[in-house]
């Protein structure tokens, strides 16, 4: 057995090398079959990847003939190897206009009921699509769902609405993990909560605090019970996971996970290495069937991450997305570095998006390289990738960028370019939920499931 360590070395090689021929010795040496490979039919995994700050059409439109994708633009070059594994859907729109906070918070929910006046206290309109799925299918896995985000940079990093796409209810966002090692520890049960070498007394603790919550509940007003109910549910979810982790099948899984070398602690300085490790953790979670629902905000909405580590880019992401506005003319008060024109600024904006496509391609490749049953993990996944705006400058909510990758166990016909001109985005969510076996009559403003 030569587990993760090997893999990490080759990953670095891979980072240096050309992006095309990705070899994945890590999982191969580990008998790269999913834990559930033996099961009759592998489960479908849902993933939602969020790209903030919008994407203009050239970074999201395919060339196609008769509905078949025939070519991708140079901005999408990294995704070319997966043309047969993905669908690009154009023409969708959202009723939502305008604001960044609403765009992020309601991406997986529905058009913000109150437009720009949306607030976390009043709620975002309902539970998000991924959480509806998680509630329906999450009870079979140790983790109902997994929520990831990159550690925020810029002044909007503490804003609830900009930093959450997964909501278990209209007012409850799920806390997100930002550190690969913490995710790994959680998946492998090595979290500090795991009791360490001492006797495992978690069950005694959970029993007592449930009783505490019950008696507290009787002493507060009806209006105050919501908060305690939320606490209750959270404790129950932890209990459930403990229970599952005691089961026998879990023991086998633990054994396998125990061989894995954890990723380095902390947040890697190199942003590319960081994103890829986060994707690795997502793959690990799917592969071990620790969860079947995961969301990953590649960055928080209105992210002002400073992308100066990309050659030719000098600017913060959100600022770049407003490429028509070169009123500052220069990003630099010494006047030496300047946006000489809108084209230059727009090109930098596109570069940032293109870079993210490259990371997403890495993820797709990871999924595709793992065999499971009669196919690959990508065959058994349904990955939604998208952004709440088209052109970030206009905050345009028509022609939304939407992509579906994976085959959902043969339920999708990838390789297609579909146009759903003028249809609401939630129509896609209805279909996505359907493929996961979750029947929802209406979602957001529509009861019309769109073909995928």
């Amino acid at each position: 057995m030569k587990p993760f360590r090997q893999f990490r070395l080759s990953r670095r090689t891979l980072l240096r090398g050309a992006g095309a021929a990705l070899a994945l010795p890590w999982l191969e040496v580990m008998t790269p079959r999913s834990i559930r490979a033996a099961a009759a039919k592998p489960p479908v995994r849902l993933g939602c990847l969020y790209l903030p700050n919008g994407s203009p059409p050239e970074a999201w439109s395919p060339k196609s003939t008769g509905g078949k994708i025939t070519a991708l633009t140079s901005e999408m070059a990294a995704l070319r190897p997966f043309m047969g594994d993905l669908q690009i859907i154009t023409g969708l729109q959202s009723e939502l206009r305008g604001s960044h906070p609403a765009a992020g918070a309601t991406w997986l929910v529905r058009p913000a009921p109150e437009g720009d006046r949306i607030s976390a206290r009043r709620g975002v309109g309902g539970a998000s699509m991924d959480q509806l799925v998680a509630k329906a299918i999450g009870s079979d896995t140790p983790f109902t769902s997994l929520e990831l985000i990159t550690k925020p940079e810029g002044s909007f990093g503490r804003s609830i609405l900009r930093n959450n796409i997964s909501w278990s209810s209209a007012t409850t966002p799920l806390p997100r993990e930002t550190e690969p090692r913490a995710i790994f520890n959680r998946l492998t049960g090595r979290s500090p909560a795991a009791g360490g070498p001492r006797r495992d007394d978690r069950q005694s603790i959970l029993d007592a605090i449930v009783a505490d919550a019950r008696s507290l509940r009787t002493r507060v007003s009806a209006a105050d019970r919501d908060k305690l109910d939320e606490y209750f549910e959270a404790v129950r979810a932890v209990e459930k996971r403990l229970e599952l982790s005691r089961k026998e099948s879990q023991a086998r899984l633990d054994q396998r996970l125990a061989q894995a070398t954890p990723p380095p602690a902390g947040i890697p300085e190199d942003h590319e290495a960081y994103l890829r490790l986060m994707f690795d953790m997502m793959v690990l979670a799917y592969w071990t069937d620790s969860t079947r629902v995961a969301t990953f905000m590649l960055d928080h909405e209105q992210s002002n991450r400073y992308f100066n580590f990309l050659p030719g880019v000098k600017g913060m992401w959100h600022a770049l997305s407003h490429w028509r506005d070169i009123s500052g003319r220069t990003e630099d008060d010494d006047g030496k570095t300047s946006w000489t024109s809108r084209d230059v600024k727009r090109a930098q904006y596109l570069k940032v998006i293109e870079w993210h496509h490259r990371q997403v391609a890495y993820f797709f490749n990871r999924l595709k390289s793992i065999r499971e049953g009669d196919g690959t993990l990508l065959d058994h996944s349904l990955i939604l990738y998208g952004s709440p705006f088209a052109d970030g400058h206009e905050h345009a909510s028509k022609q939304l960028p939407v992509m579906l990758a994976g085959h959902a166990n043969g339920q999708l016909q990838p390789g297609m370019h579909r146009s759903h001109q003028g249809k609401p985005l939630e129509g896609i969510y209805l279909s996505v939920m359907d493929k996961l076996g979750v029947r929802v009559e209406a979602f957001g403003g529509t009861d019309n499931a769109l073909e995928i």
Partner: protein
Amino acid sequence: MGFRIVILLLVWLPSHLAAVDSVAAAQAVFQKYCFDCHGNGKAKAGISFDEFSGEVDLWRDRGIWLRVRDAVRLGDMPPEKAEHALPAAERKALGDWVAHTLQHVDVTKIPKHPGHVPPRRLNRHEYAYTVQDLFGIEFDAMPLLPEDLVEGGGFDNAAATLSVQPLLIEKYIGAARQVTEAVWRDDEALERLLPVLPPGAMPPSGNLPFTATAAQSKRTDMGNGAFAVLVRFKTQTGGALFSKAPATGEWVPGAKTLYIKRGRLIYDIGWLGNLETRTRVDDGEWHHALLNVVDGRAQIHADGELLGTRRLTQPDKAEHRFRIGVAGDDDEFQPFTEGTIAFTRFYDQPLTAAEAQAASAGKAIARKPVYVWDPAAQKPTVKPAATEAEAARRNLEAFLQQAFRRPPTTEEMTRYLKLFAHARGQGDAFHEAFRLPVKTALVSPAFLFRAESTGGARAQRVTAFELANRLSYFLWASQPDAALRERARSGELLREEILRAEVKRLLADERAQRFVERFTLQWLRIDGLGTRIKPDAERFPQATPALLRAMKEETVLFADSIMRGNQPVTRLLNADYTFVNTDLARHYGMPTLFTGADLKRRLTKNRGGLLTQASVLTVSSSPRRTSPVFRGKWILEVLLGQTPPPPPANVPELKTEGGTEAKTIREALAQHRRNAACNSCHKRIDPLGFALEAFDATGRLRPGPVDTEAQLQDGTRFDGHTGLRRMLLTREQPAFTRQLATRLLAYALGRELEFTDEAAVQGLLQALRENDLRAEALIQAVVASYPFQYRQAPASETP
């Protein structure tokens, strides 16, 4: 341009020209001039006057009416293309009426409701502080918990946004484990936690071997060549009396010990040498041994006699601990296992010859030891109990009373005693068995939530315990201390003069720095400086992490000097001093006659107040350049409480005039403002930022002259930060004090303010006015306010 002149003239006209002196008169004007867009069901830009029927409406929707006031006064509304132009006299009269009404709130007309705060989870700062105060340990639990996000420019103690999710429960369980480990490592903390002992049990520190805490070990410096240690013991076999050595048991170079071998006292410093004596002390009788080190010369005394002297000293290793009854895993000495050590006293100065003679003969000396290990002497503070069950009950009751911030219920007591019994049944020793109930309490909703008892449909005053909690979490971000708990228990806290005295006491305590820090960092939005917000490292290489830290610290210390120093709150904007260390002084171009990383108070010349502090100037800039827009917006939102509406979704392309590109930011922004859609807000935002252009994106003064002149739409001119400051402190002073008061109230209440809090806000403003704007008056008024002292179930329908 024409407008501005008209308005300037109008300012000087007598106001009786047009009469808008009542709601009805204002309604008439709106109906005539504004209803095309803002009435009869039309609500352009979300503003409609259909429902406007009284002054109360202005106070409820203050934000909107401030915009109405400015739009009317500045001539933005009605727009030029409107059918009826608003005559100048009516314009002025209407603007003045709106301004006057907003300024003069009749609190009797505001519906009375203290507001509702749901059970509030401790945020991670409060959790960390509470744990420190609960156990009296220096342990940072912050990194164990995820950051609490906020809504808008809100605070991370807002009850509504503090949710609980499975991941968080897992983290709390993990944190509880680490916290209890830290407590059980620290014997002093453990003795405080478990003061009641069953018959026959020893306090943990009474057992040998004993290892002192890091703090205690620092006090017992055996490496400076000038100290003394006195031990009383009896033994028939010998072993190590005390040592300064690694806590792990290794014997390493530089470790020190006084031990008994072959019946003789020996002082040894690892790999350096030793001092051996010849008199036997292993006869099973009581002896006193004294190690007295004078000027690096070690002397060993026993029973009134000097037995030997040798030059023997070496500095301590920082990580070494003071230990009793053990020295390390060397063959030369054994742990002191048979016999008794009665006490060990450590003096941080050597004893005089006379003292040494007396002390080693067992006589009392006047000199006070800096550290004493004496289990027998501690017995009085350790409370005995008749049975183990009674000891467990008394310990747990006292602990839960603190942890739950109220007396535990009978049911809770039964439950936690069961946990203790369970652990005991698994074979845990007496002290060890408390780990499980303590760990559990730290994950219990009774600890994690500040839940208040049922608020009925009618407003009622919170209980004394609840008031104590509200107070300590406001001013300390942590639990009440023993004194405050006692005031709550006796009910005295509900008396006004006692409450005021407690506010004063809490503010004076250094724990109140936490309040200043949490409030200031979040209010001013500088929390993320150095982590989420960093200047470009290539462009500003001097902005090191250390400098960014110092910037933040400067602002916190500065705010502390005003808020806790009871200065006028306007001094936040206008002070002639600040706090700098060498790095920051250099950054500011101030003389650096001192050195060091600690910040010290210094007078300033070209700076003063928050607006000129590097923290504020940096967070309101881009990484590579300043942004007058960001800075202007920061001043409007943060200092004046006026949030400009978001920019329109579709900003049309800016036309460049005659093909010439703007050369400077100022020119570019001027072009930008020529667009009417942009101008209505940016004419208010940009000038504020221009005044600060003398400072670069890290708050350094730019070399050479910089154009810092600015002019507001109404003609007000000011230049540079001094001009800006003067303008803010005169014309905008009411807006600034109101903003500070409302933010402070929101922080104290743990919720955003509602319209029904307006009466409380007016109370704060009055308290400020009557007390020369002093900070303590404001804080006292917050605590005395209706929403702080009362609660009520949420209104079934919000008005």
